[in-house]
């Protein structure tokens, strides 16, 4: 009699184990997702910046997701300087137009791509390096007016965070 039941028994076994597996996976999901950033962390994941107080030539440093972000109101001279660079001269070749949405405003992460120090150049009294942008004092990386690496050990340009213009004078980062 048990031989007759074997196919049925196998099916029930299969169905139970499948359902059990689905259950176990469904139980794992809330536990794993609980390890993701919470809603309060995500609420701070984007920052709105009012650009109007920033005059030409001035730079602002804000904190976004725990890291410094450099916002620079570029002068025409700095914009010119950034555009007149041959791609062949760049370690990490990138057109300036690919790095800005509006030429006047450069928004880059203020974290050196070598080993993570915060480069100097935000204040007018700061050393700006040989290319008029930023200079990292830790190991001597020089960045230009588009935040691109020109000299020194850093491998990549200063990263551009995701941002949108909410209006002429307001951006939202992240």
């Amino acid at each position: 009699m048990s031989e007759q039941n074997k196919p049925r028994r196998d099916f029930i076994k299969l169905a139970s184990m499948t359902l059990g597996g689905v259950g176990a996976a469904s139980l794992a999901i809330p536990f794993i997702t609980s390890m993701n950033p919470g809603k309060d962390t995500l609420a701070l994941a984007s920052t709105e910046i009012d650009l109007s107080p920033l005059k030409e030539g001035q730079s602002l440093t804000i904190i976004w997701r725990g890291k410094p972000v450099f916002i620079k109101h570029r002068t025409p001279a700095e914009i010119e300087q950034a555009k007149n660079v041959a791609l062949a001269d760049l370690k990490d070749a990138e057109e300036d137009s690919n790095r800005v949405q509006d030429n006047k405003w450069l928004v880059v992460l203020g974290v050196c791509t070598h080993l993570g120090c915060v480069p100097l150049g935000q204040k007018t009294t700061d050393v700006k390096g040989d290319f008029g942008g930023w200079f990292c004092p830790c190991h001597g990386s020089h960045y230009d007016t588009s935040g691109r690496i020109r000299k020194g050990p850093a491998p990549k340009n200063l990263p551009v965070p995701p941002y949108v213009f909410l209006s002429e004078s307001k951006i939202k980062i992240g």
Binding site: P30, F31, T33, S34, M35, N36, G38, K39, D40, T41
Partner: protein, 414 residues
């Protein structure tokens, strides 16, 4: 070298399995152990569903440890931050509310399963020789469970957390001579405070894993003797046994799923019903709640504590109510195990269970008037049961002739 040890000083690897299974098993014999202890292990055929609650308790423990770990990723064990961190878990952590409610309600269900499990031991004489150590390790785990639950309850740092901790830790000052010193060492301060909650968090983790460790000894001692069964008669042949797998695994799985249906019902629809609303109020050392009540699973012991008018006496009574239980294998003088065949003792055990519930009810009431009188009677019966009835009834009663497993099963089929 001896006849019993043919290999002598020379060790050779061997395993009943082949292939990768054999390679691993010959070096770490877990596979053959699992097969012996959880697949082929012989179990009496006559077990009823009371025997499923040990396994259910173990699933509760695993659930508590898992949910506890994931809560621990977010919880902050300081007096200033604890309450807020728990609310952060409830509101901002993804599924934090689910993990928190799961952890809190699993504690209650762990105690429900454990109390039914202990009742089974009392009713069917599972504590009697040769299973004395199974019972004692079980009671040790029960002590640790209560410690872990007490420590865990202080962690949300609500009003009940704080004041429950204050009341219970103050019991230590009842110990003569060294009481106050012990209390200060325990608290890390003059009152329950930041130092206390931090170390209670660590102790909570420690005790939880200590329980997990003791489970192993509990199971080893059980597997040395094999399970008891409703008749109290040991299996006389293979015919009176079943292999653990698939018969008990599927039976326990059924019971566990049903148990978790009950848990899910409480968790998803009435998650706060077993708790105290006062614990949603931030702890305030200047304001004492009108009624300090421990969680429901402590109430019988709380009733015993308050039944004795003397502070030290109450503490001794509370701890010895469980401590003396550990002596039951020797206090009970009967040669017959199961209450099915012990008509007088059966009444005593059922009254003991009723007493447990009565004390539970009294523990939730203020310690005055009729409540404390009934609690005193209840406490008196508890100790009467252990110290007087257990030895006397075993000696004086005329038990029925215990059935063998086969005869018992035949009589049930009829």
């Amino acid at each position: 070298m001896s006849a019993n040890d043919p290999q002598g000083y020379k060790k050779t690897l061997s395993s009943p399995y082949t292939g990768i299974k054999g390679w691993i098993d010959s070096r770490l014999p877990l596979i053959r152990m699992m097969e012996a202890e959880y697949l082929k292990f012989p179990v009496p055929k006559s077990l009823n569903y009371f025997w499923s609650f040990g396994g259910i308790a173990m699933f509760c423990l695993i659930g508590l440890i898992l949910s506890g770990i994931f809560l621990g990723f977010h919880y902050k064990p300081s007096a200033d931050d604890a309450f807020n961190s728990v609310e952060r878990i409830m509101r901002d952590v993804n599924y934090g509310w689910l993990i928190r409610y799961l952890h809190a309600n699993l504690v209650s269900f762990f105690f429900i399963a454990t109390y039914i499990h202990i009742f089974r031991a009392l009713y069917f004489g599972s504590y009697k020789a040769p299973r004395e150590l199974v019972f004692i390790f079980g009671l040790l785990m029960f002590f640790l469970m209560m410690g872990t639950a007490f420590l865990g309850y202080t962690l949300p740092w609500g009003q009940m957390s704080y004041w429950g901790a204050t009341v219970i830790t103050n019991l230590f000052s009842a110990i003569p001579f060294v009481g106050d010193a012990i209390l200060t060492v325990l608290l890390g301060d003059f009152n329950v405070g930041d130092a206390t909650i931090n170390r209670f968090y660590v102790l909570h983790w420690l005790l939880a894993f200590a329980i997990l460790g003791l489970v192993i000894f509990h199971v080893i001692t059980l597997h040395m003797t094999g399970s008891n069964n409703p008749t109290g008669s040991e299996p006389q042949s293979w015919d009176e046994t079943l292999t653990f797998h698939p018969y008990i695994t599927i039976k326990d799985l059924n019971a566990t799923i049903l148990f978790f249906i009950l848990l899910a019902f409480v968790l998803f629809y009435y998650p706060n019903i077993l708790g105290h609303s006062d614990n949603y109020i931030r702890a305030n050392s200047m304001v004492t709640p009108a009624h300090i009540v421990p969680e429901w699973y402590f109430l019988p012991f709380y009733a015993i504590l308050r039944a004795i008018p003397d502070k030290l006496g109450g503490v001794i009574a509370m701890f010895s109510s469980i401590g003396l239980l550990a002596l039951l294998p020797w206090l009970d003088t009967s040669k017959v195990r199961s209450c099915l065949f012990r008509p007088i003792w059966r009444i005593c055990v059922l009254l003991f269970a009723l007493d447990f519930f009565i004390l539970m009810y009294m523990g939730g009431k203020p310690a005055e008037g009729i409540y404390v009188i009934i609690a005193r009677f209840g406490t008196a019966y508890w100790f009467l049961f252990l110290l007087v009835l257990a030895p006397l009834v075993g000696f004086l009663e005329t038990p029925k002739q215990p059935l063998t497993i086969s005869n018992y099963l035949k009589s049930k089929k009829a």
